[in-house]
Symmetry: C2
Subunit: 357 residues, 2 copies
């Protein structure tokens, strides 16, 4: 068991990485007198009983949401509010997210906004959620007009990244999580990228020690960035490497059709192409990136059904647009990225044209 | 023109109190490149053109919401999100609330949650909003199961309390605002309470100087409390004097039937009765409070159609319930109040029985 402390002053919290963490000893010190466990239809049969048993000495209730990004909506969010209000949970209560990124984001925003903010604990059950949503305090729901458009920054009191629960993930979901792991190598840590090149097979075979290390290193990279820029005014945007293209794929295909990690994988390939096209990196660096994503079983191109115009229209709604100017995260090397507006419309159109239509 | 600075560290902001404040000189330094003016059907014909003209050198859009507490819902909130997304407003945009408390609360929560938080400026157009919502950063919408149950703390960048806009208020709304003004005297400032006893007639006659002083003193009292307790862990609860009973009246009658200030006036009378019943104050103090509220044209009893059981059921959902224990704000004198659980069920039932059914 390894504990990684996320340093955010008064909002600091631990990420516990280990095996079989859903116990009273782990959970009880981090929750309050009332606990609402928020989970979904897929996770509930697997881990809900274990979580409820660990918390059974407190007043604990649960709400089971439909599974999938298409349900990350204000309508589903209302099911959490309703459960909290029906059970008369007060502002001292705790919301515990037991699920993947969608559950974490929705339960987190419910915790941020119920009675103007209550305690929040996360038990991420996917690799993606363990390496992404567990650091940074971002919570959100989607709006029909844009992904993650409604949300808040709300730090958890503790995060439990349990290696056991990853064993039940489908291959598709596990690989989607690897996309974000690989992203951390790209954006800030060439050594970690090389480690991933050496260890992609054990990771795909779900070797627990390899996964624990990948989760730990991913969280450390993210934590370093978030600690320097909690509210995303600058460097934090690096975490969105591949995401401007990726979010457009997710929205364009309809939420839930492509998994987030799959869309981000294709998005990173497009960002690498832009990086080469703008003279930031050479083709060998592009190939190194594409090859690792391919070995991880991830898509290396966007869906052929999307047009450049569609993609541009979704990209224009991205939260990284500022004063009408689209910002991209581009690579200068493996392990070195920058937030930039230094690219031309022609270069962007060339990348879109190469991959789409 | 008087500027009162609300001291909250990095989140400090000015409240400007004066005449004819809806000008480019006042507004432009406090907004950004994109401004969404949020107002309602009642206010729009009166002041929207003036606001838009003052902001016309920037990219400005507006959204007109239906008027009334019954529309302070997640459905109406979505109209703001839709307007922001349709016009592709980015995370550097400003939401400007032009309206009463309902508009301020909803626009404020939209600003708190749109893209995880954007700039917010308030132009409160009711007396109630000027003395209440303009200090403290509380934003919220109602849920069918409870008032203000979904919200956030989100401080504005600036507040403009314009005396001119109060002249168009209906008598009923103006008096409802006086209920909160009188509350500030009750909870912390006996001298201000005495000033109100001496000046209730000029206030009711809408004397601008008298109102400006009442707004300023009210905001100063609230600011002192909020600065000491921004996130309502302790003393800030004093601001809810009369509100536990009052919120139950509003919810029980259906939002919008009783104005907030009217419900709070009756709620304060009930809180005074409890204060006397629990031996905190004498009947002469109760009478002094009731008399001033009566002179202000405010209700001094809850609606006769409510039962004690109904009221208790709504009170149990109050945000001041902690670990199943109802807290009340009770008076020890004019200008001195306390947050307390020191009262018996019998005493509470006696007060409910005296006023209801």
């Amino acid at each position: 068991m390894h504990t990684l402390q996320i340093e955010l002053g008064a909002r600091s919290y631990p990420i516990v990485i280990g095996h079989d963490l859903l116990t009273a000893d782990n959970l009880l010190p981090n929750v309050t007198h009332q606990i609402m466990v928020v989970t979904n239809q897929t996770i509930a049969p697997l881990y809900l009983d274990k979580a409820l048993a660990a918390l059974s000495t407190r007043s604990v209730q649960h709400v089971i949401l439909p599974d999938g990004e298409q349900h990350k909506s204000t309508q589903t969010l209302d099911l959490i509010y309703e459960a909290l209000l029906t059970h008369r949970f007060d502002r001292g209560c705790t919301v515990l997210a037991l699920g993947g990124g969608v559950i974490g984001d929705m339960a987190g925003f419910a915790a941020a906004s119920y009675q103007r903010g209550v305690n929040f604990v996360q038990v991420p059950t996917t690799l993606l959620a363990q390496v992404d949503s567990s650091v940074g305090g971002k919570t959100a729901v989607n709006h029909p007009l844009g992904k993650n458009m409604i949300g808040a920054f709300h730090q958890p009191k503790a995060v439990f990244a349990d290696m056991n629960v990853l064993q039940s993930l489908s291959d598709r979901e596990f690989k989607a999580g690897l996309a974000e792991v690989i992203k951390y190598g790209f954006i800030l840590d060439a050594e970690f990228f090389a480690w991933l090149e050496d260890n992609i097979e054990p990771l795909l075979a779900r070797d627990s020690d390899a996964i624990a290390w990948a989760v730990r290193r991913s969280c450390e990279v993210k934590a370093a960035i978030v600690a320097a820029d909690e509210l995303e005014h600058g460097q934090r945007a690096l975490l969105n490497f591949g995401h401007t293209f990726g979010h457009a794929i997710e929205a364009g295909m309809g939420y839930g059709v492509w998994l987030h990690g799959e869309a981000i994988s294709a998005g990173m390939v497009m960002a690498l192409d832009m990086s080469e096209r703008t003279g930031r990196i050479g083709n060998n660096t592009v190939q190194r990136g594409v090859h690792l994503l391919e070995r991880a079983g991830l898509p290396i191109a966007p869906p052929s059904s999307m047009t450049p115009e569609q993609m541009l229209s979704y990209m224009a709604r991205d939260k990284k647009v500022s004063a009408g100017q689209l910002k991209l995260i581009l690579a200068r090397a493996i392990g070195e990225t920058e937030v930039t507006t230094e690219f031309t419309e022609q270069e962007l159109n060339a990348t879109l044209g190469k991959f789409l239509g």
